[in-house]
């Protein structure tokens, strides 16, 4: 079997893109102290909304824009529950995922069996959205570590009481961060439907949102770490598809488990490292998953 390293790398980039977008978005939300388990629901919403817009207008880029808006919009449901009604973040995120999967299954029926408009390729045979994802990595790194707004966001995530005492609006910061996460997840989902599979099928994100959540843990809450995790995942996916195509004597169903098993293995390795290192829990934000209620 001939394997051209460049074409394998291009496939890897493409396979990693949905996860990269979703995980970068979730990274920002988690750095603000919000654990949003609704990534899968926001991705599938973006996948459908983006596909519908791209199909309707014939312009794939408009599709991605609509997907970002849809992802951010549905994330507001989660924000309302957790920031306004102070509901448990784990349960609210699950609710968002279940609701998103249901909603898209309901409204997606007319789009089944329809083809997506063609994506123009960008520089170096790599499509524009893949480029955008790669550019987002240093941008988000810069925002979190070098900008004033990023510092406030991290402060809110590390210790919301202290941030509140300093006069920062904890709620507004968190709602904004979650909405950004929703927009990124929406774009990631739309990449699956518009640029990768080229059609809409029910539940097509197939756990990508959950893998993105695991990759944020793997990254130790840093943007370059997210990129490494997304590429690792992309590599496993491409390898698995290559083995399938090469006709290896292993049932297809077993090969297709690879991304999920790889995620578990990576999660275990990284959790073990964080567990036995000096700072328990790795670099996880101090207020992650806790709700904020100002008594004064």
């Amino acid at each position: 079997m001939m394997i051209d390293p460049l074409s394998v790398f291009l496939l890897l980039l493409s396979a990693a893109t949905p996860i990269l977008f979703a995980a970068l978005g979730e990274l920002v939300a988690e750095r603000a102290g919000v654990l949003n388990l609704g990534v899968e629901g926001m991705m599938i919403t973006g996948a459908l909304a983006g596909f519908a817009a791209a199909h309707g207008t014939g312009n794939p880029f408009l599709g991605f824009l609509v997907a970002a808006v849809a992802g951010a919009a549905i994330s507001l449901l989660f924000s309302a529950l957790t920031q306004l009604f102070l509901a448990n973040q784990v349960a609210s995120g699950l609710a968002l995922t279940l609701f998103g999967l249901g909603l898209t299954a309901m409204f997606g029926k007319p789009f089944e069996g329809v083809k997506a408009p063609a994506m123009p390729t960008g520089p170096l045979r790599i499509n524009w959205i893949v480029w955008l994802g790669l550019i987002m990595v240093p941008l988000i790194w810069w925002f979190l570590n070098r900008s004033r707004a990023g510092l406030i966001l991290r402060g809110v995530g590390e210790n919301h009481d202290a941030a509140h005492a300093l006069g920062y609006d904890v709620r507004l910061t968190r709602v904004t961060a979650v909405a950004f996460g929703g927009a990124m997840a929406g774009v990631g989902g739309a990449y699956v439907s518009i640029a990768s599979v080229l059609q809409w099928t029910e539940g097509m994100t197939a756990g990508a949102g959950w893998i993105a959540l695991a990759i944020v843990v793997f990254s130790n809450w840093t943007a370059p770490g997210v990129l490494a995790g997304a590429w690792l995942f992309g590599g496993v996916t491409v390898l698995q598809l290559r083995l399938q195509a090469a006709g290896v004597q292993v049932p297809v169903q077993l090969l297709s488990m690879a991304p999920y098993l790889a995620t578990i293995i990576v999660l275990v390795l990284i959790s073990a490292r964080q567990k036995f290192s000096r700072r328990a829990g790795g670099a996880a934000p101090g207020s992650l998953g806790q709700n904020f209620h100002a008594l004064r």
């Binding site: 388990l37 009604f85 509901a87 299954a105 029926k109 959950w210 999920y260």
Partner: protein
Amino acid sequence: MIQLVPRQATSTAWQVATPVLAVLATMVAGGLLFAAMGHEPVAAIRTIFWDPLFGPAASYSRPQLLVKAAPLILIASGLAIGFRAGIWNIGAEGQYIIGGITGGAVALAAYPADGPWIFPAMVLAGMAGGWAWGMIPALLRNWFGASEILVSLMLVYVAQRVAAWMAFGPMRNPEGFGMPGSRNLQQYPAAANPELISGTGAHWGVVAAAVAVLATWFLMSRHIRGFHIRAAGTAPRAARFAGVNPATLVAFCLGLSGALAGAAGLFEVAGPAGQITDTLGTGYGFTAIIVAFLGRLHPVGILLAGLLLALTYIGGELAQLTMQLPAASVQVFQGMLLFFLLGFDLLTRFQIRRRVLA
């Protein structure tokens, strides 16, 4: 201005009232959604919530209530115990699938033998399979600190592929003319899980669900382990000082909920589904999460919530037939229900007061 004042203790009255409020709000919001889609809202809500019990075709749909409620109640009873302790098993769907496969495997291995031991052995194997699948995230959390949420969820996707592999590979019916799927256990009397009392829909899974409700009630309110679980959920540090071992609780909660989900999977494979197919998982494991929350993590609440969500399944199918409502509207309904429930939950923990401007 409105101000939220935390309550000293959660309000029992609101604990009972909020699920009811959430159901009513879901009916209103669902009705609005159906109206926006061009369906008659009142008729749609009546078709989903009233007709399956008292409508013209009720004699057919009423037995279905227990058939659908049994797996939901069985799974949710186990999940609720973990949720009480802050241990999030959200991979019950995977444990359900694996339980169906391991339990069904016993029947397929025994075929065509006959004997009273076959069905009990299947139930035990189903529970063992679900237990083992649930112990994976438990051990990975205890040994390495890996999130049981993500691991148990990943294992759902792995389990779905195991089911597909079994249905197309090792467990395919040798007399099935090449069709995917195992032998039909309903046609194998020693392994079948039939309707016990004609016209009720009650099979062994329903009996098991009833036992699970009683047993979890006993565990949570009368047994020291239940006290430990409640203590660990409300005050983890205090529980640890009192000698509660968190690792033991993680293994206990994930193992128990896995075993119950596995049993539910076996009862389905041997009964209503009849065979191991690649579509063995139908979402009961996820809906059971909603059942556990709607039932307030309390055995009696779970019993009622399981029946209600079973009703939405049957009513949804009915509405699909008679009103051409999309099949996924039930899923949307269930998602909305959880949203409203989590929102209204505020009332159990906070008092709403008008802020007096000084």
